[in-house]
Amino acid sequence: MAEEYNPYNPIVMDHFLNPRNMGDLEDADGIGEVGAAACGDIMKISLKISDDGRISDARFKTFGCGSAIASSSMATELVKGKTIEEALKVTNKNVVDALGGLPPVKIHCSVLAEEAIKAALEDYLKRHPEKAAMVATNSHSA
C-alpha cells in the first residue's frame, strides 16, 4: 500500500476533501458571515431552525485554507440537531477536538467557525426577538 502524506490528520483531510453540508439554504432562518479576504478566510454559515428552536439544517461556504474548510464542515455537523442554547455553547475547541486536532497555526480557523455559528444564531435571534428573550431566560436560569 502506498503511504499517504498529508499536512493534516485523516479527519481534517476527509472534511476538506469531502466537505459536509457545503452550500446555501433557501429561506435560511439565520446567516452568519465572518472574516475577511485580507485575513485569508471568510466563512458563511446558514441555518434552518424549526419552530421548537432546534437546528434542522446547516450549510457553509468558505474562502480559506484546507483547515478553514474542514472547520466549517465540522461546525455544521456539530450544530445540526442542537437547540439554539446548545449551539451557542459550541466552542472552537469542540471543533478542534471533533477534527482530531489542528496544527497550532491553524487554530484560528476553528475560532472563525465558532464565530460564524454564533453570528448565524444571532442573526436568527435578531429576526425572532421572542426567541431571544427565551434564550436569555434559559441561560440565566441554567
Partner: protein, 404 residues
C-alpha cells in the same frame, strides 16, 4: 495514479549519472579533504575538480574563487554578512531590492539590528528592479549591492549586467543571488561584474547539502562559520565531498544541456499558461510574460475568489505537486514578500499558485494539469462565499478591473 511534479524550483531529482558519481565518495573514498594521506588527497583532488566545474560554468577563470557551503541559503548568508563584516571599515550601508529571497532579506535585516543600514529599492508590478534606483540609492557609505538574478517566486530576470556596471563604476561590491538561476540562465561573472555569485545545485538535478559562493579576486568577505581552515579559511567545516562531487557534475551537465532543457521547458511554460488562461476565468499571471525576461521554468498565477492552500491540497490529491505564496501556506502566515513587493492585491496573493517546470515534464502532463486545475478552481469557487458575492454582483473582480 498520475503524478506530475511541478515544483522544480523547490528541488529537482538527482540525475542518475550524478548519483553514480557520488556513490564511491560515501564508503570507498571517505577521507577528510584536509588530511595529508592518500584518502585525504584524493578527496582534495575531487574538490578541485568540482571547483573547476563550477567556475567554468559561470565563465570564471578562477576556480579558487569557489567556496563550498552547505546550501544556497548559507552561500547567501556568507555573501551578505561576510561582505558586511569585511567592509565595515569603509561604510555600513547595503542596497538590496524589496523582492529578495528570505536568505538575503533576513541576513540584511539581521545586519540592520547590528549597526548596518540598508536601502531596499522597489520592484515594479512585474518584479523588475530599475537600475536607476540602485544608482540613486548609492551613498559614500555603501559597501554592498545585492540582488537576485531570477526571482524565486515570479521568475523575473533582473538587469544584472546593468546593475553590475553601476556597481563597478562606483567601486562597490556586487553580489548576485543566482540560486534560482544557475543551471538555467547563462552566467558570466566578468560581464556581469559579479563580485560574488551564489549557486544551488539541487535546483538543477544535483544533490542537496551543497551550495556554492563564487568570489572574484577583488571581492572581500569575512568567514561567518569559524573553525578549521577549510575552503582557504573562508568557510570552516569538513567538506561534504559526495554532494560537492555530485553538484560539480550536475553543474557541468546543466551547462552542456542548458539550451536543450530551456527550449523544452519554455514550450511547456507557454503551453501551461495558454491552457490555464483559456480554460479558467479570472486568473492572472504574476511576473513578466513568458519570454526572455522570465525564468523559463517558472509560472506564477493567481486565481481570484479562492485561496491558495486549498488549491495546493487539491492539486496534491490529484497527484500534482505545486507551491503557493499564500499566507495560509507559509508557517508565519504571511504572503510571499515578492507578491507584496509587486503590489499584488491581497486577495490575489491569497489565491497564488506557483508551477515550476522541469526537464522531465511532458505535454501530456501539462494537459492533465490544465484539466485538473480547471476542475479544482471550479470546485473551490463553488465553496467560496466571495465567488457567490461576485456572481450576485455584490463585489467586483480585481482582475477584471485591471483588464479594463
Amino acid at each position: 495514479m498520475t503524478k506530475v511534479y511541478l515544483d522544480s524550483q523547490s528541488s529537482t531529482p538527482v540525475l542518475p549519472e550524478v548519483y553514480e558519481a557520488m556513490l564511491p565518495w560515501f564508503s570507498q573514498y571517505y577521507g577528510n579533504a584536509s588530511a595529508m594521506h592518500e584518502q585525504g588527497l584524493r578527496a582534495r583532488a575531487a574538490l578541485d575538480q568540482a571547483r573547476k566545474q563550477f567556475s567554468e560554468a559561470i565563465q570564471s577563470s578562477d576556480p579558487e574563487g569557489v567556496i563550498f557551503t552547505s546550501c544556497g541559503t548559507e552561500a547567501n548568508n556568507l555573501a551578505v554578512k561576510g561582505s558586511a563584516y569585511a567592509l565595515q571599515h569603509k561604510g555600513r550601508h547595503i542596497i538590496i531590492s524589496t523582492a529578495e529571497h528570505p536568505s538575503v532579506e533576513n541576513s540584511v535585516a539581521f545586519l540592520e539590528r547590528h549597526g548596518f543600514s540598508a536601502t531596499r529599492v522597489p520592484v515594479n508590478s512585474e518584479g523588475f528592479i530599475d537600475p536607476a534606483d540602485i544608482q540613486a540609492a548609492i551613498t559614500p557609505e555603501t559597501i554592498l549591492i545585492a540582488t537576485h538574478y531570477a526571482n524565486h517566486d515570479i521568475g523575473t530576470i533582473q538587469p544584472v549586467t546593468q546593475i553590475g556596471a553601476i556597481a563597478q563604476e562606483h567601486n562597490i561590491q556586487y553580489f548576485i543571488d543566482a540560486t534560482f538561476s544557475a543551471g538555467w540562465l547563462p552566467i558570466n561573472v566578468e560581464e556581469m561584474n559579479a563580485s560574488l555569485v551564489s549557486i544551488s545545485p539541487h535546483r538543477f538535478y544535483g544533490p542537496k547539502g551543497v551550495g556554492v559562493l563564487h568570489k572574484n579576486r577583488k571581492a572581500r568577505i569575512n568567514s561567518i562559520i569559524h573553525g578549521g581552515i577549510q575552503e582557504n579559511n573562508r568557510r570552516s567545516g569538513t567538506e561534504n565531498i559526495p554532494a560537492i562531487v555530485g553538484g560539480g557534475l550536475a553543474m557541468e551537465l546543466a551547462e552542456k544541456k542548458r539550451e536543450k532543457r530551456v527550449s523544452r521547458v519554455k514550450v511547456l511554460q507557454e503551453k501551461l499558461w495558454k491552457g490555464l488562461s483559456e480554460s479558467i476565468s479570472y486568473i492572472q499571471l504574476n511576473g513578466p510574460r513568458p519570454g526572455e525576461n522570465r525564468h523559463p521554468a517558472n509560472l506564477n498565477v493567481s486565481t481570484e475568489f479562492i485561496e491558495g492552500e486549498g488549491q495546493l491540497l487539491l492539486c496534491n490529491a490529484a497527484g500534482i505537486a505545486v507551491a503557493s505564496g499564500s499566507s495560509c501556506v507559509s508557517k508565519n502566515l504571511k504572503s510571499s514578500p515578492t507578491l507584496t513587493a509587486i503590489g499584488l492585491h491581497i486577495t490575489l496573493a491569497q489565491g497564488n499558485i506557483i508551477f515550476s517546470l522541469g526537464k522531465d515534464n511532458t505535454f501530456e502532463q501539462i494537459e492533465y494539469v490544465v484539466a485538473s486545475f480547471t476542475k479544482i478552481v471550479e470546485r473551490l469557487r463553488q465553496m467560496s462565499p466571495m465567488w457567490e458575492d461576485f456572481q450576485k454582483g455584490n463585489i467586483s473582480s480585481v482582475i477584471a478591473g485591471k483588464e479594463k
